[in-house]
Subunit: 215 residues, 2 copies
DNA sequence: ACCTGAACACCGTTCAAGT
DNA sequence: ACCTGAACACCGTTCAAGT
């Protein structure tokens, strides 16, 4: 595999092997993210990521001691991007109610759009999170967004009292559960088959908010 | 496919030809199920399953053309067992309300108890279900249980009207989402940390039923 | 510090061959 | 029909060595 000569940003006279001059790590995460989105993390290999980046696989191992560490780095960035995406969606809010609605919709939409990357983010394979503190930080930050929006809702008299985390857990479970089931193709069931994802997502989000019981 | 290299735990397993006499297939699923529950499906290998069963790995390939087919068979049995477990739990019901409550509790409890097997059942790796019709049948049957319980609830005036599948989807999303997050160790968050799974499960199930909004 | 090349043990899958 | 043994092309990880 031929390396494409790239201009050295700090001078431009030297042709350098590839992007990697202090940034091979980032390049690997870039290519890894692409690969995950194409094929899903179970079939991702360190060797293929290295190949696509134009380096030997041992070079990749220099930056990521294990395959899991590489996946964790990819997942971490995924959480950061998702957090940014949710924050951006909520900026259009006019009040606590629309904040919650926008957040829920944005969550499911982003999850489904990212698909395999979202699945990696919540995969048990990256779940030895004690070994990957940045991953924990990134996912904690995303959950905090949820809790904040719920707290807002409580203060506006929209959401029941009690610890905000409790209500956040309900909403999160519903949104994550729906996204997971959809991505795992478990929604191909009689009565659900063929219906739009947006319609089903709305039903689930409304259900978590209003409940399925008769008041 | 990428598998973590596993140290050959116990040197040479003795070949016990007596085991398989027309039922090697079943024996492989038995051992495979055990292995999944011990280590999780990502690190399961056809070769190790065969080793534990006392046959060559090519014998396993005779019964399961691919690794995915073996995993699908394991997942199928998992669904059948879970369906039976849910049915059994509901037999203690005294009415539609307790039926729903028992079903929800049993679902989450079974999922958490089976852990890695449940994760396999809902893994995208076995999601090429068109290729594994028994898997589809088994999982459809489990979902049908949910829908039936919801329909019962509607007829008793407990659950809102509309298509029963819609309300079932809400409850399923919440239950599955909570189980998944718990199994993926994503509940180690400020405010949730250290609380009992049973308590959190009850919150989620009640939330799906009654909603988080103020009536 | 950063990357290469060779080596090791393991894997999924295929194929010819035995019973 | 059912299973074995050998072979192939992959893989994650480690190590000595180069720059």
């Amino acid at each position: 595999m031929p390396r494409k000569p790239i201009k050295n940003s700090k001078g431009g006279r030297k042709t350098v092997h590839a992007y990697h001059h202090g940034d091979l790590r980032r390049a690997l995460v870039d290519q890894g993210t692409k690969l995950v989105q194409e094929q899903g993390h179970p079939s991702i290999t360190v060797r293929e990521v290295a190949r696509r980046t134009g380096v030997t696989h041992t070079a990749a191992h220099y930056h990521f001691r294990t395959r899991e560490a590489l996946l964790a780095a990819i997942a971490t960035r995924g959480f950061e991007e998702m957090t940014a995406s949710l924050e951006s969606a909520m900026r259009a809010a006019t009040g606590a109610r629309s904040r919650l609605a926008l957040l829920g919709e944005a969550y499911v939409r982003h999850a489904l759009r990212r698909g395999r990357l979202y699945q990696l983010m919540f995969s048990a394979e990256t779940a030895t999170r004690d070994a990957h503190p940045e991953l924990r930080v990134a996912s904690d930050r995303m959950f905090a967004l949820l809790v904040d929006a719920i707290r807002d809702g409580q203060e506006t008299g929209l959401v029941r009292g009690g610890p905000p985390v409790d209500a956040a857990l309900v909403a999160w479970s519903a949104a994550h559960g729906f996204a997971s089931l959809s991505l795992e193709r478990r929604l191909m069931l009689p009565g659900l088959q063929g219906r739009e994802n947006d319609e089903l997502a709305a039903i689930v989000l409304r259900g978590a908010f209003e409940g399925i019981a008769i008041a």
